[in-house]
Amino acid sequence: MAFAVEAYFRLLVRVTRACLSRPFYRGDLVQQMDTIGVASIFIVMLTGLFTGMVLALQAAVEMERFGATVYIGRLVGASTIRELGPVLTALIVTGRAGAGMAAALGAMRVTEQVDALRTMGVDPIRKLVVPRFLAALVMLPVVTIIGDAVAILGGLLIAVLMLDFTAQLYINSVWETLAQTGFVLTVIPIDLIQGLGKPFAFGGIIALTSCFHGLRAEGGTEGVGRATTRAVVTSSILILAMDYFLTQILLTMFPS
């Protein structure tokens, strides 16, 4: 276990160094941005839509007791942007793209393709890990914004169609919750900064963990399966743990 943790951080150091020096595989980066980001958008939108709808429904039941249904937009907006949006999106991308990364690299490892790269004088970290790492860092915040927007839209649908709200009232309520914690550079809500800082970190965790397990796969196809399972489980746990620590840090930096 201690060796694995040490190897994980050694990989992080090597990847960081490789990000800052040549050679750089731009074509692979674009391809990975498509695989990790663009190809995940539809499933993230679906997740966001139903999460926003169910949040609005549950909030309506509880808030009706106190005559506070007018605050549904605030609840959906705050919980989506601060917590559910980043975490759910990261978990969905882990299951989709993270598993794919671990399986692809694991298969390359057990069929000696990784060794073939090395014998041709190509560093597998630069060729295989760095493009995935950078693509995940860039694309996770992007798909999270899309997921957040669709979740808030899902809440709007419930508010308008089932709770007889006007769209204006719901949107004002969402905006109030974004505005209450203040702004950076006068226009960017602090909540949004918090909501985008998390997916940036989660993107790094997903790519690094998936590549780490993929590159350590051994024992044929069964080993690839084991590496994929480990990648998904470890990434998911690290995302949830990191979410707690990031929330603590962000609450200290930007107190309400």
């Binding site: 393709q113 060794d115 073939a116 090395r118 014998t119 041709m120 004088g121 190509v122």
Partner: protein, 280 residues
């Protein structure tokens, strides 16, 4: 046992086949002199390697000169492929020297090791072609990585090496590895290994899992590589017949040690019980 295949070649295992084999070896030795008088281009000196408590190599010394073909023989799991990994510095020895063109690849700096690796081409047991790339991109990969050749020149070079390994470039260039047969994949892997014209070629079980006719064709291709490109070849195999066809030198590995080394004819003539048992 004196039949011939439909294309006129003697059937593997037949007397004609064995006779042709011996002639071929003799011709090869006469042409290239077995490499014995030349300095060794690939050499292991007293190499020891352990994985945990398991000693894989215990003082292995062997070598092969420019223009020679060394076949390292041995049963499964004795560490034959490990020797190739040491030559490429995919592994480092616990003790001893791994000399490539006179320089210890295990002791030089990483950039120097990369430069030495570029002097070698490796054909892996499972071919190790990149699944996501078609044949052209697979074969052109080393050229795109390490040369500044124009696209047209790279295309010409790829077509040239594919023709050399008896593949029709027009047919195979756009295909993915999954669309190729085992023998074709092996040929593409050989084309990729020679496309940057390395003076040393390493083969890990080149005929493993292939039928006898394809095996013979791959062996002929290895002979052709030596004959026409004058490269030094190191082959790891458990196929004694194949080794007899292509080797100028053989080494038999058992329990982490070289228990026999010599020409294929010396191997054929030895009275050593294990060598005879291995020879079958």
């Amino acid at each position: 046992m004196s039949g011939r295949t439909p294309d006129g070649a003697p059937e593997p295992g037949s007397e004609a086949f064995e006779a042709e084999l011996r002639d071929e070896i003799r011709r090869e030795l006469e042409t290239h002199g077995g490499g014995s008088a030349q300095p060794e281009i690939v050499e292991l000196r007293d190499v020891w390697l352990s994985f945990g408590t398991h000693e894989v190599l215990r003082g292995v010394s062997l070598g092969v000169a420019r223009g020679g073909t060394l076949c390292i023989l041995g049963g499964s799991g004795v560490g034959k492929s490990t020797i190739l990994r040491l030559m490429l510095r995919l592994l480092l020895p616990d003790r001893g020297e791994v000399l490539i063109e006179g320089r210890d690849i295990s002791a030089v700096s990483r950039p120097e090791a990369l430069a030495l690796r570029e002097r070698m081409g490796m054909v892996f047991q499972g071919s190790a072609l990149f699944d996501s790339l078609n044949v052209f991109d697979n074969v052109a990969f080393p050229l795109y990585e390490h040369t500044k050749l124009a696209d047209g020149e790279i295309r010409d070079r790829v077509e040239e090496v594919l023709s050399f390994v008896d593949l029709d470039p027009a047919m195979v260039l756009p295909l993915l590895p999954s669309a190729l047969s085992g023998g074709m994949r092996k040929r593409v892997a050989i084309a990729r290994a020679i496309v940057h014209r390395p003076p040393i070629l390493l083969f890990d079980e080149p005929t493993s899992g292939l039928d006898p006719i394809t095996t013979r064709r791959i062996d002929e291709l290895i002979l052709k590589l030596r004959r026409e490109l004058h490269v030094c070849v190191v082959v790891v195999t458990h196929d004694v017949r194949s080794a007899a066809r292509i080797a100028t030198e053989t080494a038999l590995l058992k329990d982490g040690k070289i228990i026999f080394s010599g020409t294929p004819e010396e191997m054929h003539a030895t009275e050593d019980r294990y060598v005879r048992a291995f020879r079958g």
